[in-house]
Symmetry: C2
Subunit: 203 residues, 2 copies
DNA sequence: AGCGTAATAAGCAAATTTGACTAAGGCGTG
DNA sequence: CACGCCTTAGTCAAATTTGCTTATTACGCT
């Protein structure tokens, strides 16, 4: 719950403010927060005594907005949550890795093409990110650690891109997917058959 | 839903088989699947007509186990799901990045220490991964693309580790977090105050 | 032979997340 | 000035995920 952190930073705030801030950081991508979850989180945190509802204003006949503040307990909880992320390593689930584990289900040429495509998408991302890193806007108006986050993103993206290229080459080189011992051969043979069939259709 | 892919690969299977396979790949880490979700997913996929329940056996008085198979529709759906992951780039949410965005809330020395610690944890992971990559067990009994997945993991981990080191140095060097233009200074001043207070307590 | 532990197979309630939906107010514009 | 369209603020049901629980049977050990 890094919503807590945001409330702490922006307090006092109402839900819609939090939502806009999250969207402006496009945090729906790298955090785990879609707009819909915010209000639930705010209420839950209030029930747990980490937040305090400060006031409820109403402008015209629009939905009333409730403003929140962090309690002392909330600050403590936030600090401990924060430290959990700083000091511990949490593997992040990556759907691409999951999909890659089904490599034998893809025709060879499609797999290689998809990896090259992926490398290009990543390259495009890298270039636009590098551009904004060097733009005056980020350099002058954002705290420097925002740039550092961009650097992390860049480093990971470059590693990914290089890997895609290497693997695409190996797939194109036609090496067998089978392990050195041939026992497993039978397990994958059905898929190999299907993939081969598609290879033939494609040509 | 890569459960579908597993069922396709292992069919016919019952839930517990899928669960064991997932755990043996420790897929609860890199996929988004805890054991509890499997049975729900199987039932949902069956309702949608992607799977078909084949039989229900019972051994002794233990819970009856239901065996599933993939339907033609299920195969189609799986292929399209698979391609969505191969051809498109999906940013993955990383809680560490979220936590790092709150850097100004951490005392400088703790932030640097945590990053160095993180680098060490990653280094340990890299070493054990490199060991299993070179072990005969993986080289001989697993399809080669499993090794390739390890390589991706290694490449990312090395990028992360290097970044942690660089950033720890910068934090220790005492550079200001503030952007070049001083306007924003006020916004962060409260946190700076707190962090500085803790810096003083620590010494 | 008895006892504790692990494996077998799933179920379920509760927590979380998602995505779509409301409904009024303001603003530009033809 | 009437019209669409965007912004404001938040709700809600449905989908998903999680973690815990149940209740046999098999196995190892003394």
């Amino acid at each position: 719950m890094m919503i807590l952190g945001l409330v702490r930073w922006m307090q006092p705030v109402h839900g819609y403010d939090v939502r806009r801030e999250l969207l402006s950081w496009s945090a729906d991508k790298w955090a785990n927060v879609q707009p819909g979850s915010i209000y639930h989180a705010l209420r839950k945190l209030t029930d747990e005594g980490l937040l305090r509802a400060v006031s409820t204003e109403q402008v015209g006949a629009r939905p009333a907005r409730t403003t929140y503040e962090v309690t002392a307990k909330g600050v403590d909880e936030f600090e401990s949550l924060l430290r959990a992320q700083w000091w511990q390593l949490h593997e992040v689930p990556d759907p691409f890795v999951a999909a890659f584990s089904f490599l034998p289900a893809m025709p060879r040429d499609e797999a290689a093409a998809a990896l090259r495509n992926r490398a290009n998408l990543i390259r495009a991302g890298i270039e636009s990110m590098r551009a904004s890193l060097e733009s005056d806007w980020v350099r002058n108006s954002k705290p420097v650690h925002v740039g550092w986050m961009f650097e992390l993103w860049l480093a990971r993206a470059e590693a990914d891109m290089a890997w895609c290229g290497r693997i695409a080459e190996r797939i194109e080189s036609g090496v067998s997917y089978l392990p050195a011992s041939i026992e497993q051969a039978a397990e994958w043979s059905e898929w190999k058959g299907r993939a081969a069939a598609r290879d033939n259709n494609a040509k």
